[in-house]
């Protein structure tokens, strides 16, 4: 079966234990206001232009099409860039070919493994499970997920991978809906399943200024962690570079919060509740 992969990072440092490769699958059901991987949102392939090294010759724009006011690059644009800066983002790959590619580095990944990330990897669940089956017994596997998927899919995922990186963003359902586009109900159900499964996992909390880094949200998240018997979390402070990739896609980055604010690391609340954390 084919899946759409938008990036393979061979030496990925912050996506699970040991030296790992990360596979980024295209497509995500969420639209987080702070998303720093916008090329992972849509499920289909799209053309992107790297701004680094652009000489501004305009060849790509001249061969582009206009759709709903957006500039959409064409295959001609790719060909006509003298610096080779345009590319198709999102490659359709057979699961077997992807596994083969990953396993080529097996020797170097022996103390780490492979992490499927996205987008949301469970959005291409059948493809993902085929890949995981193909790697079983050969490499340590992990899934980095927002937890938004059918319970049946998540249960299958629990049986298929060795390790999970589970994002918890906002504790309040309405807030979650406002900033990510979906409610967190099924996410929390799936999170409980993970906590009860006995699987190794780590919780990751993005710290978005004035959105997720508030005392109120932190208290809420900590409560969820405690209810599920979790005593450690990794915090990912918002990075102002997040908007960088939107331009590549010809889109505009419009965060729904003031990105100039300093990120608050809610240390006291974690400490008070006896939950250890690490800032990544």
């Amino acid at each position: 079966m084919q899946g759409c992969v938008f990036s393979i990072e061979e030496f990925s440092v912050y996506d699970g234990p040991g030296i790992r490769s990360s596979i980024f699958l295209k497509g995500c059901p969420l639209r987080c206001s702070w998303c720093h991987n916008p090329e992972g949102q849509r499920s289909t392939a799209e053309i992107v232009r790297s701004p680094n090294g652009c000489i501004g010759c305009g060849n790509c724009i001249n061969s582009a099409e206009k759709k709903n006011g957006e500039t959409v690059f064409t295959l001609e644009s790719i060909k006509n860039c003298p610096k080779g800066l345009l590319r198709v983002c999102g490659e359709w790959m057979e699961s077997g070919a992807l596994c083969e590619k990953i396993l080529k580095n097996r020797k170097l990944l022996k103390n780490g493994g492979v992490t499927f990330s996205g987008g949301e990897p469970l959005m291409q669940s059948s493809f993902l499970f085929e890949c995981l089956a193909g790697l079983k017994g050969q490499l340590h596997t992990a899934i980095q997920t927002c937890g938004f998927c059918g319970e049946d899919v998540f249960e299958k995922a629990l049986l298929s991978a060795d390790f999970f990186l589970f994002d918890l963003k906002l504790a309040d359902g309405a807030q979650h809906k406002r900033y990510t586009g979906v409610s967190n109900e099924v996410i929390l159900t799936n999170f409980s399943k993970l906590a009860q499964s006995g699987k190794d996992f780590v919780v990751r909390i993005p710290l978005i200024p004035t959105v997720t880094d508030t005392a109120e949200n932190t208290e809420g998240i900590v409560k969820i962690l405690k209810e599920n018997g979790v005593s450690y979390a990794e915090l990912l402070p918002y990075n102002k570079m997040a908007g960088g990739k939107y331009k590549m896609l010809g889109r505009e980055y419009r965060p729904d919060f003031d990105e100039g604010m300093t990120v608050n690391i809610p240390k006291e609340i974690f400490d008070k509740n006896g939950i250890a954390f690490k800032v990544l």
Partner: protein, 636 residues
Amino acid sequence: MTKLVEALLKQLKDNSYRQYRTKETESPILYPVDLFGFNMGCGKPLKGADGGNVSPNYKRIITMGFDATRKELTESISAAEDEAKKEYGMRMLEKLDECIRVCDEYRETVRSNRRLCNALQNVPHKGASTFYEACVFIKLCIYFLRIDKAAHLGFGRFDQYMYSFYENDKKNGVTDEEIFETLEAFFISINYDSDLYTGVQQGDNGQSMVLGGFDKEGNSMYNELSEMCMRASLELNLIDPKINLRVGKNTPDEIYVKATQLTKQGLGFPQYCNDDVVVPGLVKLGYEREDALNYVVAACWEYIIPNSGADFPNIRTFNFPLVVNNTLHQKLNLCESFDELLAEVDSAIKCESDRLIQSVYGYAEKNQPLLSLFIDGCIQKLADMWRGGAKYTNFGCHGAGISNAADALAAVKRCVFDEQTVTKAELLQALESNFEGFSELRNTLRSCPKMGNNDAEADDIAMHLMSVFSKSMNNRSNGSGGVWRAGTGSAMEYIFTAAKCPATADGRKASEPYSSSFSPSLDVKTNGLLSVIQSFTKYDMTDIINGGPLTLEIHDSVLRNDIGIEKTAQLVKLYVELGGHQLQLNSINRERLLDAQKNPEKYPNLIVRVWGWSGYFNELDIEFQNHVIRRCEYLG
């Protein structure tokens, strides 16, 4: 950091140390500053240099002292019968006496600096008895040698030859903290006067230092002093000394972690050298095992033997892309298959090797009587180091642009022969017109297999090129009492010779730079670091061991905390386990470099790795700045 070190560091940063170059000012610092006695107040930068790039035997000189060295020399002269030898001995003696005279004068001018003055009561007349005196002595030697136009002299295995002084101090009740302060002050002092002695670019001064390594039983020689040097370098964050760390399969993880913390500083070092590859490689070139085990690096990364060697490791550069390109223009039309073309490339490599060898057959540097005093055997033989005095006088040939050449051939193989999407005539015309009007063809060439992707199609060609090159060079006589050694370095030639090379079949335009040393071509988006380290360790590197590192750029955000540091350390370990010979890892941030080009005043202390050395970004010529920026175009 002690108060004293803090003060010295401040003086270095704001250049106020330079006031001590005049005799009128009382010098409160620990080590001599140039012009304060030495350069006789001429106050001008020293232009030009004679030979160098060797690792002098500081240990012997600072242990014996100038008086005992002088005695040995005069005895050798009296015993000699050959007039020419006697005469050369007298030239050495003249130089030595001049050093002694200048030092005696100098001592009088620093009377008010009690500590320095006390040290100068002993050194350089007598041998050093403390760690501090040893440092002062070395500092004096560096000035004398530089003024005598010996360039690019490294510190060699400082942690090994200084260890007895360290041990002795400890026995006499000196604490580690006191020794550490002396060491830090010494490190600061070797950053003085960079305005007076410039290389190709400012910072290119050859002050490398080699730490660690293994002895003949395989025991680690990384000691307390190695640790102190690493710590001092980390704390001071200065260009010099440029740390080289000798590692091997038995290097413990924590040393890699400490080294990676140093990488995080963004200075472009430590550079790693793999004993498991370098030592057997040097033995294959005829070095005695004992000497090979003692190897150090020259100014950048060329492996040399300290104390007894006078190798000339960068005397010539093999221009791989140009040789391949010329072959394409002359022979492509005559070749029916890729194998035929490759055979033509082989012949061209052999011809070019012959030419390079003949071009300097029997060459020797100018006589350097002062530097020869520091090279073992010269006093006994009363011979110049370059003319029979030293034990080794081998020549090294850099191999520049290996990846560009391999990529070019891989593209020709695929497009012209395998898939036949490009005709020979089209390709040659595109190259001749520097791809003007051929941008689509150029993109096709650029999308072909590239070295660095762990892709056999390109890597096999690279291995073939290296094999032919090393067979055409290694162990051939250089007519100067030594042999040739093939290498993977480029030095400044990735800019300079590349500037003269027309468009190449990998899609590189005329005069665009090559990759620096042994690295993926510029502008090649590789699969990632795991593929790169596998591509660049496939070849048996003991075969091509003149030096020249795989250069990798890591975005500085990867090293932002201990997780990233630990994993990057593991990556280095993997590279060593795979049989890589030399690695230069740079922590870099492209946006910061671009900003520094626009607003240099904001970044007076921004340091980057250039080729075999690190320099202040603001002091580099624009083409070197741009190369550093382009090297990280595809990072995170």
